[in-house]
Amino acid sequence: MSLSSRHLLGLYGVPKEDIQLILDTATTFREVLERPIKKVPTLQGKTIVNLFYESSTRTRISFELAQKRLSADTINFSTSTSSTKKGETFKDTVRNIEAMKVDMIVVRHQSAGVPTYLTKISKANIINAGDGLHEHPTQGLLDIYSIKEKLGKLDGLKVCIVGDVSHSRVALSNIFGLKTMGAKVSVCGPSTMIPFGIESLGVKVYNKINQAIAEHDVLNVLRIQLERNAGERIPSLREYHNYFGITTERIEKNNRDVLILHPGPINRGVELSSEVADGPYQVILDQVTNGVAIRMAVLYLLGTMH
């Protein structure tokens, strides 16, 4: 069994069999992570570069740990300056890295499409670790994995993505991946945060949080980008919390069976109340553990492809 593409650029258009294979492989690695010695020699001799043009400690650590668990050699390249500000272009940087004979590149970049562009200028397997507001496929996969783990199925499940959907690569990867796996996906948030034409992707739009909680099995609650939004898309964080924040009271009034996911880091008191963030409805830390297993699965499947 192998994947149909040698890169993971996004979940848009990825066939069901591929997603299923990644989820199944992750289950195997999830077991490895429970062992006293959490390491397998699968990617020994492979060199992986983590090319991070946008700071993201969490995603980078998760990838790095997954690479170490698979015994790969890892190099980290992090910078926050874009090629417009530096003398060297992005392409030159990549060519330089390529010359060091790397097998895989994990890339995070503030500009949508950079992973796709990388496939044209590099021979390595490319894994998208988040590009602009486009996709974050391993996050989508780990969310899907976590839902399946808790609820036992995906087909027919109702999942609502809550918050700033128009500024979220996590939302898009979730929508594409979950729909492929047979789930019904909706979004809920202020109208200013719902992207154009999302309904034509077969996604229902909610503007009332109580209704969204009542009508779904899962809420995947997005992080509100504090710096980006206050004043422009929402009047204030306080108003956001009052009208769209997930609180224990709202959950208990509308749907005690709901499962809460959050990609982290959490803004307590904004999208989630502290009580919810630490409470019984959420699986936030399981998501983090599953993230390592999912990334191991993706690295393994791409790294051992011929």
Binding site: H109, A112, Y117, H134, P195, F196, G197, L201
Partner: protein, 429 residues
């Protein structure tokens, strides 16, 4: 030197001319039209243009020549070569050079530099100082130096109050103000806002960013009774606004680029920066409206918006890459393939949009094909099938989304200012 162009179908809509004729040209002037025997005319060079059409030289009213300032991307000379290869005998160049074309010296510099070339270059000067939209440029002085229109192209004139003064002032010279219509508070994006931008998670620009300014500009032109020309229209809303304004008698004209009537935002799925332009590529329904607008005359002309960029600038992360593509050498081929062969426009209508109307808008004389006239012609093979190859472009820059595209129709030769461009060579005639 004497040359004879034989057997071409000679078309000139303004003369109601359309017949198979020979032309005898001597020292750059048409001496005789009709059936000309090479036996009668001694020492002449014969060009057999059987099955080709011969039309008044094509004119591209929207090109960026990059000189002065970015001679690594294009110069007046290389841009003129590109124009000649694409079938144009004249171009109007936009003022967003470095420095901007906002002083008489730069207008004169461009006129002087292009003097020796086959292709006529007419500078469009900045409407406001440094194209900042704050203070009027020396419009009278620029006009006197040779500027034929005023524009802050690359940017919109943000402030309606300043636009009013620009319109009023240019009206004294009966020249159009050319507007790049885009409300900057809505255009902070890298592509069209639509389903594709949603799927790609790309910052986007809605149609209304253009429609708003087109509406404002039409109202301002109506209010001042001055002439406004809408550059590179891309939305169905803009087409309709212009159609209605023309019905009311507003002095508005409009142009469209080949990419805006052939490509949609769907092409951006590969994140190729050669599809990044301003205004952005829109949707199929916008293209439909633009084709209707071309047909019914709402859109007066076709212009390339030739915008050369260095490879290292286009080979960048999508949101950082500059806007624009080269177009002088593909405009005619795309227009014939997409408009004439697909029966959107007749050949006559296409010639109006590529030769007659741009000159009318810019108050330039329209070349006549009659005895005694100075020769200014383009010879076109409407059936020639060829493949665009960016490596062979005469332009210094290679940023084109049409690379490897199969086109039907191409310019074979252009003649102007006692020079003939034929088979990659300039011949003095």
């Amino acid at each position: 030197m004497k040359i004879i162009l034989k057997n071409a179908r000679v078309i000139n809509p303004i003369q109601k001319l359309d017949s198979k004729l020979d032309l005898l040209i001597e020292d750059g002037v048409i001496q005789k039209i009709g059936e000309i025997s090479e036996k009668v005319v001694k020492d002449s060079q014969i060009f057999d243009f059987e099955n080709k059409i011969c039309v008044p030289g094509l004119f591209d009213m929207h090109v960026h020549l990059r000189e002065p300032g970015r001679e690594d991307e294009e110069t007046i000379d290389t841009g003129s070569n590109s124009a000649a290869a694409g079938g144009f005998t004249g171009v109007a160049c936009m003022p967003n050079t470095s420095p901007d074309i906002d002083s008489a010296e730069i207008v004169k510099f461009i006129k002087e530099k292009s003097k020796k070339n086959l292709v006529d270059v007419f500078p469009v000067a900045a409407a406001t100082l440094n194209r900042k939209g704050e203070a009027l440029s020396p419009i009278a002085e620029l006009y006197e130096a040779g500027a034929i229109a005023f524009s802050d192209d690359g940017s919109v004139i943000k402030n309606a109050g300043i636009l009013r003064r620009v319109l009023e002032y240019s009206k004294m010279f009966d020249v159009p103000v050319i507007e790049h219509c885009e409300d900057e508070t809505l255009s902070d994006g890298a592509m069209n806002e639509g389903l594709v931008s949603t799927i790609l998670g790309m910052p986007s620009i809605p149609n209304v960013a253009e429609d708003l300014i087109v509406a404002r500009d039409i109202l301002m032109a109506e209010f001042t009774d001055a002439r406004i020309h809408i550059a590179h229209i891309s939305t169905k809303g803009a087409v309709e606004l212009i159609r209605q304004a023309k019905k009311r008698g507003v002095k508005v004209t409009a142009e469209v680029t080949p990419h805006h009537f052939t490509l949609t935002d769907d092409s951006l799925k590969l994140f190729d920066t050669n599809y990044k332009m301003s205004p952005p590529l829109r949707t199929t329904s916008d293209i439909q409206a633009i084709l209707e607008g071309l047909k019914d005359g709402t859109i007066d002309c076709i212009a390339s918006d030739h915008a050369p960029h260095a490879i290292e600038e286009k080979e960048m992360e999508f949101v950082f890459a500059p806007n624009g593509i080269v177009g002088l050498e593909t405009t005619l081929g795309i227009s014939i393939s997409e408009l004439v062969h697909k029966k959107i426009l007749t050949l006559n209508q296409l010639i109006e949009k590529l030769s007659i109307n741009p000159r009318k808008i810019l108050n330039l004389p329209i070349p006549e094909i009659k005895e005694g006239s100075e020769v200014n012609l383009t010879i076109i093979d409407t059936d020639l099938i060829w493949t665009v190859d960016v490596t062979k472009l005469k332009s210094k820059s290679k940023n084109s989304p049409f690379d490897k595209r199969l086109l039907t129709g191409k310019s074979i030769s252009v003649i102007n200012k006692r020079q003939m461009y034929f088979e990659d060579n300039y011949i003095r005639i």
